[in-house]
């Protein structure tokens, strides 16, 4: 059998194991090991297995993960999301669908402190959904809005997915973070416009709230100031070259810890829970990346990624059309798989293709994160939808999925704009040259 045939059989086996509910990391390590053993030798495969576990578990570049996750979980348990929402609501609440518009920007701001979509959706959902119920918001709009806006957390830095993408592709994490800022703001605005347009057409969907006084608005700014301080510390430190990404994460976590300690808003239980959550997410991420590394070694010896890129590069088709097909593939894959798993599985295979076709890997990182965002809200996997269902158990799952569609349309429009105008993503990283 040719190496390509073995690789294709292995990928089919891998997907079968995924569908058999074998954890993604386990399956990638198993198939990667078996494939590598078949292509080289059992002793070489055994040796590389232990080395991959040691090298990845003790990787300095991966230590950025626990630090940013710690920062995000502290922000979650200290109620930062609630303060951001109160500020956004005071300024935007009087608009048609004002609570929804405020939700979009509050989620974007929370995403600047936390890189997890599920944490963002849970934190904001707990605060916002009862308020929306009080103002008689349409349940589909309310839940769809929070689930979708919660997904902004993986695009707006710090983003766990962008960190892993940066490690897999050896791209600068600082540049990837910078690349996510403008698309994140653009997407938050698209989400806000979606709510505004829907409520303008049918005011019953989201009645306007009470207009706050300027005194109330200024008083609510505390939550926004602390977000800007944290974001400025992390991104400023990375931009200026003061911090490595791990140091930026630790500095952000220090800020996230100090603010609620001064405000007396973090309990001991909340602190311990944030540590528990951090080890859980860290172990999950490290094991997936290690499994992907073992699998990546097998892919490298099979030479499939290089043959695929040579073949696609030789096709008489515009690279944008090929990119369109790849994004479509990600969109379908994202419906069935967690975005982190999807990215760790596909990036080692597709990176040579991206480079051969002449696309910027930083821009591609932003694009696949955007597509990953679609994956967290689309059925049947749509993790954010299940999180929101947990927060609002009285709203049927179908209603939440129905509420998602206008926001999914906004996401697709945003992705098309980014494909047509890659400069939106590449402008800020360009300033870091």
């Amino acid at each position: 059998m040719s190496p390509s045939t073995i690789a294709i059989i292995s990928i089919v086996l891998l997907i079968s194991l995924f569908l058999m509910r074998m954890p993604v990391a386990y399956a990638m390590a198993l198939i990667g090991f078996l494939g590598f053993a078949y292509m080289t030798s059992v002793s070489a495969a055994l040796s590389i297995l232990a080395k991959d576990f040691w090298v990845m578990f003790s990787s300095y570049s991966l230590t950025v993960v626990p630090m940013f996750v710690f920062m995000g979980t502290i922000a979650f348990y200290s109620g930062m999301g609630s303060r951001l929402y109160q500020a956004a609501f005071r300024f935007l609440g009087q608009l048609p669908g004002g609570l929804g518009v405020a939700t979009c920007y509050a989620c974007a701001a929370f995403g600047a402190c936390c890189g997890s979509t599920t944490a963002a959706a849970a934190a904001m959902g707990k605060v916002i959904l009862p308020e929306m119920k009080k103002y008689h918001y349409d349940p589909a709009l309310a839940t769809g809005c929070v689930a979708s806006a919660g997904s902004l957390a993986i695009l707006i830095p710090p983003s766990t997915i962008l960190i892993i993408y940066g490690i897999l592709t050896e791209e600068s994490i600082g540049k990837l973070f910078a690349a996510g800022i403008l698309p994140g703001i653009l997407l938050a605005t698209f989400f806000a416009l979606t709510v505004f347009i829907l409520c303008r057409r049918n005011p019953k969907l989201g009645p306007a709230g009470v207009k706050a006084t300027w005194k109330e608005r200024v008083a609510s700014l505390g939550g926004v100031v602390e977000m800007f301080v944290l974001f400025g510390l992390v991104m400023g430190g990375l931009f200026a070259g003061w911090f490595t990404p791990t140091e930026a994460g630790a500095a952000g976590a220090a800020g996230a810890l100090l603010i609620p300690l001064v405000r007396r808003q973090l309990t001991w239980r909340g602190f311990l829970s944030s540590l528990t959550e951090t080890t859980r997410i860290t172990a999950m991420v490290f094991l997936i990346v290690t499994g992907a590394t073992v699998f990546g070694h097998f892919m490298a010896v099979s030479r499939v990624p290089f043959e695929l890129s040579e073949w696609l590069g030789g096709l008489d088709v515009s690279p944008k059309v090929i990119m369109g097909f790849m994004i479509f593939g990600y969109l379908i894959g994202g419906c069935f798989m967690d975005s982190l798993a999807l990215i760790t599985l596909t990036v080692p295979i597709l990176l040579p293709v991206i480079l051969t076709l002449g696309f910027d890997p930083i821009w591609f990182g932003v694009i696949i994160v955007l597509v990953g965002e679609m994956g967290v809200i689309t059925p049947p996997v749509g993790i954010n939808v299940y999180i929101i269902k947990g927060v609002a158990p009285d709203v049927p799952l179908e209603t939440i999925f129905r509420g998602i569609f206008p926001f999914l349309a906004a996401l697709i429009v945003c992705a098309i704009i980014l494909i047509l105008f890659p400069q939106i993503a590449l402008f800020l990283p360009g300033l870091m040259e």
């Binding site: 058999m20 993604v24 386990y26 297995l49 578990f57 996997v381």
Partner: protein, 161 residues
Amino acid sequence: MDFLDRIIRFVSKFCDQIAQAGVFAMFLLVVGNIVIRMVWRPFFGTYDYVCFIAAVLVAFALANCAVQRAHTQVELLVARFPQRAQGIIGSITGILSLGIFSLVTWQCIVLANEMRRAGAVSMTGLFPFYPYIYAIAFGVALLCLVILVDVIQSLGKAVKG
């Protein structure tokens, strides 16, 4: 069986608490290094310490992550199957998982032994690598035990339905 399950859960949780202490230690070390290098000079060997803490914390958190069912998996298909089919599929994937992680445990011990004999140390701090590789072997072995309990439970499901 129930006793074994409880023991493994207890040990996994205890190891996870060590991992949590590791996260906080890493956080303090990195922040402390940022502060001290602004006023004096960086801590010696910070890079090595951070890497070693990461290795231990991840290894010690693996098993509890599996107990919490937090390792990403695709729930879509199997959850719709009858209990017996779920048990059979769970047994197969569990045995395969057990196989790969047993190999990882064994090979980590082999690698640690080699590193110990060769006297391999880190570049800056000259700290030996092998204790941390033994820690990884321990963490992965604990993960194997968690998977073993899952396999026994899945086999029970496959037999009883």
